[in-house]
């Protein structure tokens, strides 16, 4: 009936790949979110002075990620940096995520109605208090769905790091396919793992959002 040469070891190999995918996603989102929040707040506070920043970030959204990996990787060797491929992957994905996160944060801050800010300032709050207690909580709720989408899209984009030699989920699957020649089965398993990871992230996010709504 149904027979396959896929072994338990192969499955383990794929799961290890999936773990790399998750680690890359987490690292990239950490970099991307930190930078994105700083840049986003700056963009919202000083829209004209930070225009050059916005143009620079736009470049990262307008060039294929694959090319960014290759460029950064070669730049790294040109400059003589001794970074691992994983580090390169994290940095490039992180900057890429930051470029999107900046817009998300900026949108969130700008979505806070001016009347609300006037109200808080008229209560005698300082600029920082207003930011801390009024703007950020509201902006976070507005920006969160966009941020969650970014996590999902970065997770999918990690597949491209295979091109600079990192063995993540898709690359691991490809290796196995080359050996056992059962592409459909192996790829379906890989797809299922991606799907499940996306589903878990999306569910967690949705739960968090619901909890916020209950608080409000």
């Amino acid at each position: 009936m149904f027979s396959t040469s896929l072994t338990a070891n192969d499955l383990l190999f794929m799961l290890q790949g999936a773990w790399v995918t998750l680690k890359l996603t987490a690292a990239a989102m950490l970099i991307g979110t930190l930078a994105g929040v700083v840049f986003g707040l700056l963009r919202a506070a000083m829209p004209y002075a930070t225009l050059p920043l916005s143009w620079a970030l736009d470049v990262f959204r307008s060039v294929p990620l694959l090319i960014q990996f290759v460029l950064f990787n070669s730049l790294k060797s040109l400059v003589g940096l001794d970074w691992s491929a994983f580090t390169v992957g994290c940095v490039v994905l992180g900057v890429y995520a930051a470029a999107f996160c900046t817009e998300i944060v900026r949108g969130g801050v700008l979505a806070v109605p001016t009347s609300l800010r006037r109200a808080s300032r008229s209560l005698g709050m300082s600029y920082w208090q207003d930011l801390r207690y009024i703007v950020l909580p509201v902006a976070t709720r507005v920006a969160f769905p966009g941020w969650l989408n970014l996590v999902l899209s970065v997770m999918k984009d990690t597949a491209l790091v295979m091109w600079i030699g990192i063995i993540e989920l898709l690359r691991a699957s490809q290796t196995i396919v080359t050996r056992i020649q059962e592409p459909l089965l192996v790829l379906c398993i890989a797809g299922l793992i991606y799907y499940l990871m996306s589903l878990v992230v999306a569910r967690l996010g949705a739960r968090l959002e619901r909890r916020w709504q209950e608080d409000d």
Partner: protein, 221 residues
């Protein structure tokens, strides 16, 4: 530390070939968008049907397209279809993969867009004696187009960026493929890919610009 000398001359000499590659890139993306929009419309209709079978099919399509990497989708078509003895070229796999992806994302946009056109518009149209199809064509669709126009432009940009994945399944005549060919022959990785990056940037900017001009003509209200 920095003893590398950039050599742009050979890279610039390759520019005509790369521009030809850029044209392939653009063509592939545009074709994938046209097909993607048509499929997305079909998926949107299927998701509104009463029959659960087409509904489930369309939902599955949308959710796979949105929850797995586009590279995975291209792999599935390139390697996966081979399991059924159906081998397609890397270009066909790329086109089909991006089209699949476009259709999934756009179907979701269309669904949201349809919700944004109030039901009362349909009522008003029908009360003037228009048939259902006529009302969709004359009243709902033009309003939908405006709502999904921006996502549509975004998706076109995405499609251009996604074509770069073709090189991973062996495509060699699109912009990334041509660049990679030169790279393998000359090992001037940075120079060639930097020029490719500039060309991609220009393509996306031209698309955004044209879309904006078009919107200006298209949406008068």
């Amino acid at each position: 530390m920095f003893d590398y000398t950039f050599q742009w001359r050979p890279a610039l000499r390759a520019l005509p070939d790369m521009l030809a590659g850029a044209w392939v890139t653009f063509e592939t993306a545009a074709l994938s968008m046209i097909l993607g929009v048509l499929l997305a419309l079909a998926l949107t209709v299927m998701r509104r049907m009463d029959n659960p079978l087409p509904r489930a099919f369309a939902n599955l399509w949308v959710s796979i397209a949105r929850n797995t990497p586009s590279l995975f989708q291209i792999y599935m078509l390139y390697f996966g279809l081979g399991s059924f003895g159906w081998h397609i070229s890397s270009w066909a796999a790329l086109l089909a993969g991006i089209t699949f992806n476009n259709a999934g994302y756009l179907a979701e946009n269309f669904r949201g867009g349809l919700k944004a056109v109030p039901d009362t518009q349909m009522r008003a149209a029908r009360s003037l004696g228009m048939g259902a199809f006529q009302a969709y064509r004359l009243i709902v669709f033009p309003q939908l187009l405006r709502i999904v126009y921006h996502p549509l432009t975004n998706q076109m940009v995405w499609a251009v960026l996604m074509t770069s994945l073709g090189v991973i399944v062996g495509l060699n005549d699109d912009l990334t493929g041509v660049t990679q060919d030169y790279n393998v022959r000359t090992f001037r990785t940075f120079e060639f890919f930097a020029i490719a990056a500039v060309l991609y940037y220009l393509i996306t900017k031209v698309i955004v610009l044209v879309a904006r001009l078009l919107a200006w003509r298209l949406f008068r209200y």
